[in-house]
Structures are given as structure tokens and as C-alpha cells.
Symmetry: D2
Subunit: 166 residues, 4 copies
């Protein structure tokens, strides 16, 4: 018996950059999803998290692993808006879609950040082919261990959808 894992909370995104259309986790069911939460002026994101996310994007087939960025601004909102983010993404050549985490009225902490309980940035979430959270980590992660988790999850089969009766 496998342990049960929690279903990944939905993403709350006001705007997607580098994407043709709005992206939902439900659309990605059947593939492994790496969700990289960052802020453009967070040094650890720039030096470690984003390069690692780009490495993951380049190392796996898009049919197996989808990398999504999430701009989870929880401080200095005025200078990290979507226009600044777009320049940042162009300068740092971020090749994957990035969503802007949706603001919560009266709070500095945006909505997806609240749903996942992130303590800061960078944070990384890995979601399996069945939509369950298998890793939810704040801080740095070793490439070898991230690779091992992804290699394992890629190998796992998606469960067949439950039978429907009418």
C-alpha cells in the first residue's frame, strides 16, 4: 500500500506570462508538475531556485514533467508588479510559464502562498501524475535528490480515473 498524499490545492493566478492560455493543475493531471514559487528580488531564488527550475525544464520531456513558476510576492509589492516581472523573465531567460499569485484583499500574503503554507521564497512543490503533493519545500534543494524524486514520479503510472456511473 502506498501512503496517501494530499491533493494539491488549486493555483490562484491573476495573470500567466509565457503561456498561451490560463493553466490549471487539473489540465496537467497525468503529468508530474514542478511548481517553483519565487520573488524576482529574492537573492536565493535568483542564485539557486530559478537556475534549478530551468535545469529541470531542460532535463525532462514536457510530456512527463511540467515546470511552472509562480511569482508569490509577499513584500515590496509596489516594485515587483507584473511589468517588472516581465522584464525580469526576459533578462533571466525564463523559458517556462510563470503565474502571478493572486492578491488577497487586506493581506500581504497572496492566495496560493496561503493555500500551500509557504514560509518564504524560494519554495518548491512537486505534484505527481495523480495531482497529489509529494514535496512541499521552502529553501534550497540538492539537484541529485530533486532528480531522484522526479525520476521516481515519472516512472509511476497515473491512476485510471474512477469509473463513473450514470
Amino acid at each position: 500500500m502506498k501512503p496517501e498524499f494530499e491533493t494539491a490545492p488549486a493555483l490562484h493566478v491573476s495573470e500567466w506570462i509565457n503561456a498561451d492560455k490560463h493553466i490549471t493543475l487539473a489540465d496537467l493531471r497525468g503529468r508530474v508538475v514542478v511548481l517553483h514559487a519565487f520573488q524576482m528580488l529574492c537573492p536565493g531564488c535568483v542564485s539557486h531556485g530559478i537556475p534549478q527550475a530551468i535545469n529541470i525544464y531542460n532535463a525532462f520531456s514536457r510530456n512527463d514533467v511540467v515546470v511552472l513558476g509562480l511569482h508569490t510576492v509577499f513584500e515590496h509589492h509596489a516594485v515587483m508588479g507584473p511589468e517588472a516581472l516581465k522584464v525580469f523573465m526576459r533578462e533571466y531567460r525564463i523559458p517556462f510559464p510563470v503565474g502571478v499569485d493572486d492578491a488577497v484583499s487586506g493581506s500581504d500574503i497572496p492566495m496560493t502562498m496561503q493555500a500551500y503554507g509557504w514560509r518564504g521564497t524560494p519554495s518548491m512543490v512537486v505534484i505527481d501524475r495523480n495531482g497529489a503533493v509529494r514535496l512541499n519545500h521552502f529553501g534550497m534543494l540538492d539537484d541529485l535528490r530533486v532528480g531522484a524524486l522526479l525520476g521516481q514520479l515519472v516512472t509511476e503510472q497515473a491512476s485510471p480515473p474512477p469509473a463513473k456511473s450514470f
Copy 2:
């Protein structure tokens, strides 16, 4: 149907260091084996291959992944003998067993190196739970991709041994 992979050639080792007893691949059947072939005076081995092998050793359970070094001396034999290797292993704190690749009379190339066809050092072989070669690589390898392969192989089940009839 899985593709068929070749069964890993046997190791030819004149002496094991950091090991209680002689090690064979047959003994390790059921576990993933990472075989790291190096020479103690090879700069790429020292700067890249050996640190990566130590990382792998630290990242996985010994029940899943076994790391073995192999000292495959094919040049400058006089100064890379077992006594020099023992000092090297102590100074570089190599925690896994290392075998001395067996000399072939009349050849500079030792026996296991010939069997695996390595073109130089560092070389890395990854063997699955069923004893089949899944990677045989000369040169540098990215941590993320090595991790992904190992994560995948750890997940695979060992085949049941063939039924025996009496």
C-alpha cells in the same frame, strides 16, 4: 514490454578497499549499483566524478543504491598502486568500497575496463535491480539527470528469479 538491457559484465578486482569481503555484482542483485571508475591522479575524477559518487552514496538508502568505486589504472601504473590508492582514499574521505581493477598480462588496460569498454576516466555505470546495464558513460554527468535515472531505477521492481524445477 521493456527494452532488453545487457547483463552487466562481472567485476575483476584484485583487492577491495573499504570492504569486509570480496564483492560481486551477483551479491548485489536486487539493488541498484552505481559503479564509478576512476584513477586517483585524474583531475576530472577528483573534481567531478568522485564528489558526485560520494553525493550519490549519501543521498540514497544502502538498501536501494550501492555505490562502488573501481580504480581502473591504464597509465602511470607505477605511481598509482594500491598503497597510493589507500592514502588517496583516506585523504579524500571516500566512504564506499573501491576495487582495484585487475591487471591484464601484456596490456596497460585492466580487465574490467576492457569488459565494459571504457574510453577513459571518469566513467560511470548504472546497473538495475536485475543486473542489467542501464547507463555506461565516459565523462561528466549532470546531478539532476543522474538523480532522475536512479530515482527511476529505485522504483522498478526486481524481477522474481526464474522458477526452478527439480
Copy 3:
């Protein structure tokens, strides 16, 4: 006879951050000045130029070497204004004064950048105790060679001011 070096053009700065008062090169005559021109969303500045400038700041006595940053925005002006720069400097813990290079009406290229002829960011200028430009470099520089130049310039004596007659 020493070669003649050109006197450093004046800085044109609309605002200093991390400084008690407006700074001019004339005020710093007698000390070596390292001028580090950057943009906050320039990847090479963030990964290489700024860490090197901070290293220089920490390696030398303030009586010998003064490090100044200059935010020379020549693109994406809307998202790299002074408020964004202040957040960037706090997040990246930049310990030295940074001036905002003054805009030129009708041009994307700010005034000091034009005066020094920089082709982009990061650029580094080293000015000797007598106010002469000894290095004006666009791109990366090796720590050892930068150190050697600074070690040399620190050793040089400032010329006595010219005699004045009344």
C-alpha cells in the same frame, strides 16, 4: 615618466542611496575609487559584478579604496526606478553608496554612462588617488587582476596639489 591618464569625468547623480550626503569624485581625491556601474535586473551584474564590488569593499581600508555603485539604467526604465533600487539594495545587502545615474532628456542613456562611454553593464572604472582613470572595463574581471591593480594604486602616492601663488 609615468604615462598620462585622463582625469575621470564627473559623476551625474540624481540621488544617492546609502550615503549621508551628495558624493563627488573631487571629495574623494587622494583615495582610490572603484566605480561599479550596474542595472538591478542585469544577470551578469547580480551574479558577478555586485559580489565582486562587495568583496572589494570588504578587502580594503576605506581610507585607501572607496567603492561606489552607479545605477545606470539604459533600458526598462519604468521598472528600475529608485524605489525598486532601494528594495534591491536591501535584499542584496549592498553596503556601499549607490548613485542613480542622471537621465538625459530625449535619450535612454543616462548622463554618466554617456560621459564614460560604457557599452553596457556591468562596467567597472578604477580611478587613482589623483583622480585619473586607470581602468574602464565593460564585462567580467578576474579577482586576482582587479586585486593587483588596486594593490598597485593603493601604493602610489597622491601628487601634491600644485603650488598656488597669490
Copy 4:
């Protein structure tokens, strides 16, 4: 008045590698000398000290700065003899002359190591144009600070030799 610095003790070398003839510090008077003491199986020497010494060798004119290696074996003598050292130097492409520190009968510590009082490897000594020790350091050194010291010493003039009377 400059502080007085101690005259560098003579080198005791049984054999020079990468050199046309025996080298003495007296021969190098008038130039800055960087003496890099290492052991070929010392990890900190291989990862840090030797690359830094090669950088110094490449950054300065041979008329200003001479880099010398010294193989100061104080442990595991049997496996770090001159033949092993020659292979090591070829594999690591060490471009400067390296002397073998002379053994002292009845002691593990070779003669030059005793004269300079090194506590281990890597150690670096910097000698000025007048033959005086300006740095004698065990362990790692930052490129920027080493560069600064060398830049300063290169700038200093050699003292004229004392007048001789007949």
C-alpha cells in the same frame, strides 16, 4: 620608514621539476616570488592552492612575479615521491617549476618546511623584490587579497645593492 621584514630562508630542494637548472631565491632577487607549498594528495591544495598558483602564474609578467611550487611531503612519503609528483604535475598541467623539499634524516618534516615553520599544506609565502618575507600563510587565501598584495609588491622598487668597497 618601512617596517623591517625578515629575509626569506633559503630553499632546500633535492630536485627541481619543470626547471632547466637549480633555482635559488638569491637568483630571483629583484623579482617578487610566490612560493606555493603543497602535497600532491592534499585535497585543499588540489582544489584551491594549485589553481590559485596557476592563476597567479598566468596573471603577472615573469619579470615581476615568479611562481615556484614546493612539494613539502610530511606524511605518506612512500607514495608521494618524485616519480609520482612528475605524473601529478603532468596530469594537472602545472606550468611553473616545482622543487622537492629536502628530507631531514630522522624527521617526517622536510627541511624548507622546518625553516619556514609551515603547519601544513597548502601554505603560501610571498617574498618581495628585496628577498624579504611579506606573507607566510597556511590555508586558503582570497584571490582579491592575494592580488592586492602582489600588485603592491610589484610596484615597490628593489633597493640598490649595498655599496662595496675594495
